[in-house]
Amino acid sequence: MRLRVPFVKRSESAQHLWTQCPHCGEMLFNKQLARNLNVCTKCEHHFRVGARERIEQLADRASFAEIDPTLVSMDPLGFVDQKPYPARIAESQAKTAERDAVVCGDATIGGHPVTLAAMEFSFMGGSMGTVVGEKLARAAEHARDGRRGLVIVSASGGARMQEGTIALMQLVKTVAAVTRHGKAGLPFVSVLTDPTTGGVLASYASLGDVILAEPGALIGFSGARVTSSTIGAELPEGFQRAEFLLRHGFVDQVVPRAQLRDRIAFFLGAFSRPAREMRWGV
């Protein structure tokens, strides 16, 4: 059964009219900030955006139809740290109104049919446990069956510790699924947003046919604290940022949010025109 879930409007309460930009310190009027796709109007700092808002920004108007909206995590290990894992899930569900850390569905982007997935960082740090792994694998399989492109917008701290080695195995699951999708000759655009780290970057997110990143996004394998303690020194400014990865050859483009939709549409379009059907100079 496919459910159509309407976009949830961000609550606009009087106390939260202004946001201070953490980068340049500018006070930003929230409505204006939202109109600017949550990018600072002064310094172009890209604020994090949630999964639904991301989909709203990327998908053609009213084209999004969610798939697998009801999957929920179990607690395979009986994991308890300072709180039991199910309590942490319930907390995140209440906070985000999502059931887990990714939202998937069919949509069109610039008219091109895709299966689009966006991660919700505020749900346990966007961490990938079984549900995220399963939903992404299903999304890739669904896209393959329907001969659709695949667009995944990542925002994740990595694998979900509370699911232990089972969470680690989701790396294999997602990689295998996007690989099968790719072998069917279908395009996969991986979009890396702030932050994309650990096991998510070390799996499907690094395997896009095209990899795009948002300006200033933190993207890396190891946590910066671990890395700086390994060399016993502070890390240089800009280490593990999107521009750093561009310079070292691990992302194709750093794309400002306002241009992201058009850029994705361009690549989807370019890959859907095989040479034999190409008409030059039309």
Binding site: T70, L71, F79, T130, A159, I166, L168, G199, A202, T227
Partner: protein, 320 residues
Amino acid sequence: MLEKIDRALGGREPDGDGLASSGVIADVAGIANRRSPWEAVQLARNIQRPHSQELIGLVFDRFQELHGDRGFGDDPAVIAGLADLGGRSVVVVAQQKGSSTEENIARSFGMPHPEGYRKAIRLFRLAEKFGLPVITFIDTPGAHPGPEAEERGQAEAIARSIQVMGELEAPVVAVVIGEGGSGGALALGVGDVVLMMQNAVYSVISPEGCAAILWRSASEAERAAKALRGAGPDLLELGVIDGLVPEPEGGAHTDRQAVAAGLRRALVAQLDRLASVPLSDLLAARYDRYREIGSFADPSAAAAEKAKPWWRRALGKAGL
């Protein structure tokens, strides 16, 4: 899924998977006294434990090492090469920790850099080209976390290795022989059969790292180890691995010959088993093996199932 293949290959006895018959523990009930997860972590990290190089020497009849990723350099934390196992050529890729402080420094404590994973990928492709099975030994605290590793694309190297192993047109047997540290271990750990030494550990994060994040104190590592359930018997119960290669009572370092002999027996049995499976079935089974790991609930699917008329449910159960 592999069990399905075993059955399809002609009604073998229940032990068609060749695990128990080759001395591998395939059921936790067979373990007399289970160690605490923290004890297992200590044993897995014991510097006297036989590491890859020593095991390769004991398990295989001949081994010739191949060096370099053909792009950047040669990573001493990864040993790779061709070997002979009971008359069969195999490609071996292994992570190597040091058995002394000097060796540990030379091999960066078994933490591979991207060129180590790219060397592994090169060897996997070699195996595919010549139709040879792949055997990997995993023993690493994790992929190297230094800034050079980040610059050279540690995450991409791991992702690519996982991808290549997942679709490799050759049988793959992976064995966690000591410490299986997160993505850096998994990059050599995708296979048709995944085994662990009895006292090895395999986890998404080190107990110390987990404790530092969730308890905000590395001294809670013992509790974290328990919560993570990364010891061999736990992972056998959870269905992440297929079997445990037994170790003597005091740990693998107390009788290296016996451990190596047990490992050899297990590997030979699994290669025999996998050699008879058609490649297309093998790849399908490998995909399903990982596709099926993990449990989740889908309340709407359950509700939809209930809403179906009884005869449709009955037809569904009958597989129609």
